[in-house]
Homo-oligomer: 307 residues x 2
Amino acid sequence: VGATNGHAIGIDLGGTKILAGVVTREGEILRRHERPTPIDSQAGLLEAVEVAVTELLDDSVSAIGFGIPAPIDQKRGRVFLATNIPLTDFDLRDRMRERFGVAIGLDNDANAATIAEWRAGAARGATDVVMLTLGTGVGGGVIANGAPFRGGGGAGVELGHVVLIADGPPCQGTCTGRGHLEALASGHAATLAAQAAFGPDVDAHELVRLADAGDAQAQEILQRIGALLGSGLASFANIFNPQLLVIGGGFGVAAWDHLIPAADRVLRRDALIPARNEVKVVPAELGTAAGLIGAAFVAYEALDAAL
Amino acid sequence: VGATNGHAIGIDLGGTKILAGVVTREGEILRRHERPTPIDSQAGLLEAVEVAVTELLDDSVSAIGFGIPAPIDQKRGRVFLATNIPLTDFDLRDRMRERFGVAIGLDNDANAATIAEWRAGAARGATDVVMLTLGTGVGGGVIANGAPFRGGGGAGVELGHVVLIADGPPCQGTCTGRGHLEALASGHAATLAAQAAFGPDVDAHELVRLADAGDAQAQEILQRIGALLGSGLASFANIFNPQLLVIGGGFGVAAWDHLIPAADRVLRRDALIPARNEVKVVPAELGTAAGLIGAAFVAYEALDAAL
C-alpha cells in the first residue's frame, strides 16, 4: 500500500480516556480502540498510547495523529504545558516516529475536533469556521481561508482563554488568567452557578436536566451563560468573519436549547457587519468521535507535507 | 518601466485627511500629497481621491492601494459599511481600475498600518504580529505565518471590536456592540474618563499632559485603561501566539509610558504559556505615515497577485 492511499490512526489523548481509531481520508472510522488514560507517570501514559497504536496498526497505516489537550510546539513536536496529562517537555513526535516509522502529526485537541467537523461534519464545504468545544473547559479551533489556522509556531488558537470580563473570575489549573471564556461559559462555570443556586450536589448535568424539566431558575442560569457565550462568539466573528460558528462539547450540545437563543441575540448585537447579518451558529455533528477523526486528519496533513 | 519594478501609490483615506504618497517596495516615500477629506458626498470624496492620485501619478506607477477605515469586501472590492466616509456599497476597486488602468488593492486602514510596520517598521523580520492602533477608535491587524491575515472574505480582523467586558459600555457610531475594546481602551474612552474626573474641557490629549506632569489622578485613569488594554492584548496573544504586539495610533504612542507598564502586568497574568513568557510589546515606528506606506504594500500585493 503506497503512502498516499494508506490509512491514518487518530488518537484523542484525553485526561480520562484514550480514544483511538483507524480513519479513512473521508473521515470514516474503520476500527476503534479505547482505554483509560494513565495519568500517574509519563512512562505509563506512553505505554498505553503505544499499546493503543499497536492494537490498530497494520500495513495499511501510513500516519498517526494525536489530539492533545494542550498548546503544541509544532516546531519541536511536543506540548508546551499539559494540565491533565503528564507530557510536558517531551519529544512526542520524535518518539512516535522512531517507534512506529510512519508520519506523525500533533495538534491541540480542539483544533483536531474543528478539522474533523470541517472535513466530515457540521462545517463541510465552509472555508471559514470557528468552533468552540464547551465541556468542563472550553477549547476552540479555526479554519481560515480553507485551511486549519494555528497562529504563531502552531501554538494557537486558545479561544477558551480569550478575556470576556476583564479582571473577572479565575480559570482552573495552571492558567493564571481572569475572566476568560472558560471561566464564564463552560460546564465548570455552569456547575459553580448551579451549586450557588441549588446546593453542593447539583452539577452542570443536573442543571441542564432541571432546565429541560422547566425549572425557571435553572433556565435563567443557562441563559445568562448563553449571553456571555454570545459575546465571545461576537469577538470571534469580528476577528475571523467566519461563515459558521460551530458549538460542540458535552455541555454545549446538552445545553444547546437553553444557551443558544440567548447567545444568538447577544452575538447579533456585539458583532459587526457583515458577520452580524451573515454568520450562522450550528451544533457539532460528530460527537465524541470528533477528536480521533480530527487527529487522523492531522496525521494525513503530516503525511502529505512529508511527501 | 515593467510592472514588477514600478512604484505604488498608497492612499490613507481617513475621515479627516487623505494622505497619499508614491512608495517603493522597501517602504520609502518618494513623493507625498495631502488634502482634507470631503465627507459630504461620495462624488466629492471620489473627486478628491482622483485629484490626489493624479498629482502623484507618472509612468513609474504600476499599482494603487487604499487603506480605508471600514471592513472590506475583498471579493467585490468595496467597503461593507464605512462610518466616517461616504463610500458604503460602492465598487471602489472597479472604479479606480477603470479610471487609472493599474492594479488596485483595498484594505482596512489598520491592516494596512500593520503591514507597513511588519515590512518597514517595528515588526520587521517577525512572522507573527498583532498590532493595535489606539486613536479615537481602535483598529487592529494581524500578520500570521509570515503573511497578512484578514479572515473570511478579507473582512477581518476587527480587533477593536473584541468584547473585553461582556455587556459593558457601548461603542460609538454604527456599532451596536457593548464592552468592546474600542469602548474601553481608546482615546475616546480616555476623553470620557478625563471629563468625568476633570470636567468637560479635558480630553485625552490633556489627560496625557496632566499625567506626564505628575498628576496622580490622571496617571491612575491611564493605568486603569492600560490594565484593560492588557487583557485585550492577552486575548490576542492566546489566539495568535505572536512574537510581537505592536502599539500604534496617536493615543497609544502619546500615552505609552502610562498605559504599557499596567498593560504588560495584566498581559502576563492573562496570557497562557508560551506567549506569557515570550511575547513582546513594542511601539509602532512609522507614525502617521504607516497608513499610506501600508496601502502601498497592499497595492504591491494586488500587483503581484495579478501577474
